[in-house]
Symmetry: C2
Subunit: 332 residues, 2 copies
């Protein structure tokens, strides 16, 4: 009988990094170890914090480094996945060309997988989350920005330049008329459906709304108070104006999903991140728009679901990538 194998998954974000030991079935062996990233302290300190987070995760699982089969690390882009490098992500400034994979591999002497954070989250949902029954899936992650990941038959679509699944920059309106995105272009999905842009659109709707609305009372509130979460809560609470903003968000996301249906034609499209707290009602809005707007034949069968692993998806998926790495090596 094969012994239980353990993998460490590390998810590095701009604010914190999280790691946990995950077994062969995708179950975390403890609550994640969490440390502040504090990128401003520089990349040497960052690499040491990564190693320390991994050590704490191993300790939290009451294991030692010897028990670990492989390690998976996920970071935000820009990155070079094949080379194992963080390039210069906007939320990890001033890091530049950080050899993450080789450093971790050198310190722990374990096979080390490296992946984009949204791809890792997608793989987590594919492996043991909302899409575990699916053969292929697309994940949209809704947060400050909009990210994504595409998995087809256990293969992560990394892209030739590490930009596979860059779904926030799918264009859902034309370059001359669309909303302006943080990337400088017009019409990107992110310019409509990120948390920041849900709030912006809410403000625009408020400016011309004539009916009664609780949301309308936040007219002069600043962004600390008027958040995407508040808009969603008011919508669920029955506010008509907030509901319009949420329904429009679902519509924009559905446009993103239909582009994936016409290219990848997946089994399942999963939505994850903060807004999905709105749950089934939000899912069902997206589903309705997808069914109306998608290419009929594949759309009638595609499943639209809400992510199930929450913010654990990243480190679970990173651990899953570590597991994939040693499996691939074993069958080579």
């Amino acid at each position: 009988m094969a012994e239980e194998r353990y993998f460490v998954g590390l998810d590095v974000g701009g604010t914190t990094m999280k790691a946990a030991v995950v077994n062969d079935h995708g179950h975390p062996q403890s609550a994640p170890a969490v440390m502040d990233t504090r990128p401003e302290r520089g990349q040497e300190a960052g690499l040491e914090t990564m190693c320390e987070t991994i050590r704490r995760a191993v300790a939290a699982a009451k294991l030692t480094a010897n028990d670990i089969t492989a390690i998976g690390v996920a970071t935000p882009g820009l990155m070079d996945i094949k080379a194992g490098l963080i390039l210069d992500p906007p939320n990890l400034k001033p890091w530049k060309n950080v050899p993450v994979r080789d450093h971790i591999k050198g310190v722990f002497k374990k096979p080390t997988a490296y992946q984009n954070d949204a791809n890792a989250a997608a793989y987590g949902e594919f492996w043991v989350g909302a899409a575990q029954e699916a053969k292929s899936m697309v994940l949209f992650t809704l947060g400050t920005g909009v990210g994504g990941g595409i998995i087809i038959n256990d293969v992560i679509i990394e892209g030739e330049h590490s930009h596979g699944g860059e779904l926030g920059h799918l264009r859902i309106d034309t370059p001359d008329r669309g909303r302006i995105c943080g990337c400088g272009a017009r019409g990107c999905l992110e310019a409509y459906a990120s948390a920041t842009n849900v709030v912006r659109r809410a403000r625009e709707e408020m400016a011309c709304w004539r009916g009664a609305s609780k949301l309308r009372e936040y007219f002069t509130a600043n962004d600390d108070v008027l958040t995407a979460r508040l808009v969603f809560e008011l919508a669920i609470g029955g506010d008509e104006l907030a509901w319009k903003v949420v329904d429009d968000t679902a519509y924009y996301l559905a446009l993103g999903a239909t582009a994936l249906i016409a290219t990848v034609d997946p089994d399942m499209v999963v939505f994850g991140g903060g807004m999905v707290a709105a749950g089934e009602r939000f899912r069902s809005l997206i589903d309705g728009h997808v069914k109306r707007l998608g290419l009929p034949f594949p759309t009638k069968s595609v499943k639209i679901t809400i992510a199930s692993l929450g913010s654990d998806a990243g480190f679970i998926g990173a651990a899953g990538c570590a597991r994939l790495l040693v499996q691939q090596k074993a069958t080579d």
Copy 2:
């Protein structure tokens, strides 16, 4: 030393079907055998014509059935690739639920691969055509409609419902404002960039053009005379109005390409079909729009090219699928 292997590739279209024997290096062993499809004679006759085209291809290569390792068949959608079935494609009426793969396999007693025709053409270009140096590629095929195929590391993205690479139905304008597509939706790439729609847009431009133009002289010409080919020829010849139509076509195709860059992030995007006779000048127009409109990091490295196999891509790619099939079996 391994003996040379031979594969038959059969490409079934609404008007004709073509087959040839192709060797392990993707070289056709003769000009293709061509027969009329005549779908109106029914699917039994259709299956028999497929077999006869295959037999003629084998004879044309001066080989016998014993020399053939495997067969690949490509047909237009709708289809069920995994099941090996033609469902009910609009240009093969009145065929319905035709068990192509099992029939061919039964008649010739050879491993038989089955694939969508545009996917097969993409695989042909990937294997031995314009994208033979690429690790991943996307093909847009420009004809009466707009089709496509996506290949990543020798894997064809078939889709879970046989609709992978349905690139004509990528939306490049919004569902409320876009041009109406044959599929009933608004904003699909095909509603802009198919041969039919190039002519439609040319007519629209003619209606409000004020300058001198040779194209403008075809104002009352019917569609037999005013073709997409003519528009492209006039553009290459220096006609300003025709050039606008061609440049707009390049712009719409570039929008399609940028959607693939943000999802699949391929090495190369290839354009094939009738319009590419316009060659380097058309390619360079598309390239310029892609560079301007695509997500900067992956776009600066993506190669935009013109297909090199012409109408042979389908049967060469189908033969390539047959080769993939026996390779997969060998390594199972």
